[in-house]
């Protein structure tokens, strides 16, 4: 392989690595994070993340999301991660166009949006854990692929909207 091709390959890998979810496993917890740059206004990304019934339209990892995404409200999420389960989550924090936290007794998902001068940087982290975690850890599927898909879908949809004439 030529040196220039190798450099190109490494650069391409670096770009896709920036979108790749990573998981840190510990005895009593597991934390998955994904980040992606999106060339769109924070308000568009926020609107996509806070309209529950619209999620399945653009997000291929979500089968259904019922309820209102407002602070203190409970939502019911059905995801491709486990199609048989409905996750009952509470919206714990909402800081418009900046940060949102959903969670239940076992874990917490944090969304953050940061302006970066050319759109926004989106970050999504989910930490699950607790004293009983080692007992049920093996039943929880890995999140990495789903997180990558979530971020990719969000970027695609937000940028399509942003490019509307």
């Amino acid at each position: 392989m030529k040196v220039s091709s190798l450099i190109l390959l490494l650069m391409t890998s670096a770009v896709s690595m920036a979108q790749n979810a990573t998981t840190v496993k510990k005895t009593f917890s597991r934390e998955t994070t994904v980040s992606i740059d999106i060339k769109a206004d924070a308000s568009i990304v926020w609107a996509l993340l806070t309209n529950a019934s619209d999620f399945p339209r653009w997000n291929s990892t979500i089968i259904s999301l019922e309820g209102e995404i407002k602070k203190g409200e409970k939502i019911r999420l059905k995801s491709t991660l486990d199609e048989k389960r409905i996750f009952k989550l509470k919206v714990k924090e909402m800081d418009t166009e900046k940060r949102m936290v959903w969670g239940d007794g076992k874990g917490m998902r944090v969304y953050t949006i940061t302006e970066n001068g050319n759109g926004i940087a989106f970050n999504m982290t989910e930490k699950i854990g607790g004293l009983m975690f080692p007992m049920y850890a093996k039943y929880i599927p890995p999140f990495d692929a789903s997180f990558n898909q979530f971020a990719t879908d969000l970027k695609k949809e937000a940028e399509i909207i942003s490019n509307t004439k």
Binding site: I44, I161, T164, K165
Partner: protein, 265 residues
């Protein structure tokens, strides 16, 4: 701007304003009231108009606010509005008697399939969240620019784009699943059924192939078919067309049925 100049400008787009409000409220009476209130409000606040937008954009902003206030307490219609209203109409002999009387006696009592397509668009678009419905109408039917719509609905251009995109996607999806004119598996045939009632001697197929959207149903994608549908809506004035009285009678029926249905739900 002088009062005379404003009045002249207002009259030039009054027809568009009226059809815009009708497509939001589905009520002739409420449309008349809102258009009149808009004129009075704009007229009395003429001194505050600084020319930062066109008078038309400014007036549409006033009218949109009044319409939004009016619709705030009302529930949005459902995607299957046409099914619910058809069921109610079939049980209401008076509705058909009145409609037939209009058909036979009124100069604006014709039944045309393209008119019904426009009517149907109004009913289905009332199932969108209000901000999405008015953004879609302002952009695709009344040809305002995204920047002007942001002024009219007092929001950012980014949010206008979001509303527009979601509205288009939902409308495309609804028609794709329901409308038999563009999808053979579509469950709604009301326009051709009504054509059979009001124009019994007419060949519906011959009428349908005159409509570009139907002609292109198999060759165009669903987004392009929505554009063709909106082109039909754009070309028709629901108050002035040869089918106006018949369609407005039908719209009034649907509004009453939906208000009752949503109240009971």
């Amino acid at each position: 701007m002088t009062t005379d100049k404003f009045t002249k400008e207002f009259e030039a787009f009054r027809g568009q304003l009226k059809s815009y409000i009708l497509r939001m409220t589905a009520s002739v009476q409420d449309t008349e009231d809102i258009v009149q209130d808009t004129f009075i409000k704009a007229h009395s606040n003429l001194a505050s108009f600084k020319g930062e937008s066109t008078p038309k954009t400014w007036v549409f902003a006033i009218a949109s606010n009044l319409a939004r206030d009016f619709l705030k307490s009302k529930k949005r219609w459902t995607e299957n509005t046409t099914d619910i209203c058809k069921e109610a109409a079939l049980q209401n002999q008076q509705f058909f008697q009145e409609a037939m009387h209009i058909r036979q006696t009124s100069p604006q009592g014709q039944f045309e399939i393209r008119e019904h397509i426009s009517f149907c668009f109004t009913c289905v678009s009332k199932s969108l969240p209000l901000e999405q419905q008015l953004t879609l109408l302002l952009k695709e039917v009344y040809e305002f620019k995204v920047r002007d719509i942001a002024t009219i609905i007092d929001n950012t251009e980014a949010m206008v784009k979001y509303y527009l995109h979601t509205a288009r996607t939902k409308m495309t999806d609804i028609f794709e699943h329901r409308c038999s004119l563009i999808n053979k598996k579509g469950i709604c045939h009301q326009c051709t059924e009504l054509n059979g009632i009001f124009n019994p001697k007419q060949n519906a197929q011959e009428e349908l192939v005159k409509i570009q959207m139907v002609k292109d149903a198999e060759s165009k994608n669903k987004e392009e078919l929505l554009d063709l549908r909106m082109k039909i809506v754009k070309a028709l004035d629901p108050f002035e067309s040869p089918a106006a009285e018949l369609q407005l009678h039908h719209l009034e029926h649907n509004r009453k049925v939906m208000e009752r249905y949503l109240e009971e739900k």
